[in-house]
Amino acid sequence: MDKVILRLKERSNIPVEAEAICPDLFLTKSQQEIEELALYYGNKGRRLGDFFQVQGERSDNIVIEGEIPNFKKIGQGMSRGNIHIQGDVGMHLGALMKGGRILVEGNVSDWLGAEMEGGSIRVKGNAGHLVGAAYRGSSRGMRGGEIIVEGDGGSEVGELMRRGLIVIGGRAGDFVGAFLIAGTIVVLGPVGLRPGAGMKRGTIVAFQEPDLLPTFHYNCLCQLSFLRIYLHHLREEDLNIPQEYLGGFYKRYNGDTLELGKGEILVWAGQVA
C-alpha cells in the first residue's frame, strides 16, 4: 500500500501546530508539495520539511516516525485514510475528524478526538484530559465514531458527547461523561469522581464501583443484550474483555436527575444476581 512516511529530524520543545498533517491534504500532493506545507512553530510559520524527512507522495496513508508530544492538531478534520503515529503525540489529535483511522503506538495529550464526527482512533498508551469532549463554549462534544484508549484517560472524558463510543482501558479521571447528551463510554479500570455529572442521556459502563452523585438512583440488577453486543465488539478490537463481563449482571443507575435523568450508569455486579 502506498504511504507517506514522515521521519522526525529532531524533537521540538516548542509547540507546533500541524493540522497540515492530514490524509485529505496529502492525497493530491507530491513529495515536494508535502514538504512545503505550512506548520506553525510557536508563532512562526515554518515548512513541514523543516521538521520531517518526507518519503512518498500522493497517498492518504501517513506514517509518522518519532516522538512528537508537542505537535498539535494532527489529523484535525480528516475524512479518510490512515495516520499511524509510532510514538507519543500532542494535543487535539483527530479533533473534528469525520472519517478514517488513527493509530497511536504511544501516549496522546489532551483533547483527543474533540468534537469528532466519525472514523476511529486507537491509542495504545494513555490519553490526556477531555477525550472526545466539546471545546469550551461549544454545545456538543463528540458526535460519532469511536475512540479506544488502551491505557488511562484524564478528566472530563466524553464531556458533552452527543454520539459515538469511547473506551478507556485503564483508569479514567474525574467527571467522566459530564453533561453527556448521548453515546456510550466504557471504562474498564477505576472511575474518578462525579461520573455522569449533569448527564441527560447516554450510557457510562463501569467495572469497578464508582462513587456516584446523590442525583443518581438505583433501578435494578439486569443483563442487557446491547451491552453484550458492545463488549463483543470490543473483543473483536482485541481488548481484554473477560467472559464474566459478557454474561454478568449490571446495576443500573439512572441520572443525572438534576437534568433529564434519562442517562444511565451501569456497574458490573458479578456473575450471580
Binding site: G144, T184, F226, I229
Partner: protein, 298 residues
Amino acid sequence: MQVNGVEIEDTFAEAFRMVGSRILITACSRQWALQAATTMTGFATSVIGCGCEAGLEREVEPEETPDGRPGTSVLLFAMSKKSLADQLIKRIGQCVMTSPTSACYNFLESSETVLVGGKLRYFGDGYQISKLLGGRRFWRIPVMEGEFLIEESFGVQEAVGGGNFLILGQDLESTLRATERAVAEIGKVRGVITPFPGGIVRSGSKVSSKYKFLRASSNTPYCPTIRSLVDSQLSEAVNCVLEIVIDGLEKTEVGEAMRVGIRAACLPGIVRISAGNYGGALGQYHFYLRDILGGTLG
C-alpha cells in the same frame, strides 16, 4: 425421466416474485430462541390467507450472533415491501418482543430496508433508548422482564415464492415417509423455507372455483377420492398426493431445494413426481423438474 424407478413428469413449478427478509432472534437458551421463532412463524403458511409466508431457516450458533447467545434465523416473505414491513412489525411485536429474554436483529444485508425497530420503539413510551454501533442502530425498549433489543431497520430483497413439487404415492404411509424425508433434506439448504405444517401441504389448490365468491379451490385433478368424477391427473396406482412448497431468497436456492427434495422423495411406494403450475402465465419463475434434476435451473 426416472429417479430410483420414480417417474419425473415433464412439467414445471410456477413460482412468484415476492419480497423476502431474514431476521435473527436470540435468547438466553436455544429453547427460547426456538420458541420465539416458532411463535413468530405460526399461521404463516400462505400469503393469501395469512398475509405472509414464514418459517425457521436454521438454528444459529452463539458464535454467529452479535450478542453471543443462541439464535434462530427466520425467513419471511410477502407480496410487497409494505406488506412485509407490516408483517414484521406485527409478528416481531407480538411474538418476539413478548418472548422472554429475546432480542431481534436484521440478518440480511441489502440496500433496501424497512423500518421495524424504528416503529416498535414507541412501545417504550418515551423510555426507549437508541444505540448506534458500527452504522447499525438498535433500540432498547424497557419491558417487564428487563429490556427488549431490536435493530432499527431490516433488509429486504426480491425473492421467490411458491417453488413446489407434488409427490404421488401408492398409499399414505409411503407418501408421507417420502415427503418427510424430502423436507428434511430441504432443511439443509440455506436461504429457503417450507412454510406449511411440517413443510408439507395435503390440500393443494387450483386458481378457480365453481363458487363466485371463491378465487381458489381444492386441487381436484389431484384428489384421489374423486378420481372418477373429475378430469383426474392420477393413475389408478396413486392413492395419495402430498405437496412441498418452497420459498427462497434466491432462485438458485429454491432450485437447489427442489433438486435435493425430489431426489430424497424418490423412494419405494412413490409413483410419480409432478409440480404445480398455472400454464406459465402467472408466475415469473418456472422450475422445470427435468432441468433441475439434470443440474440446469429452469
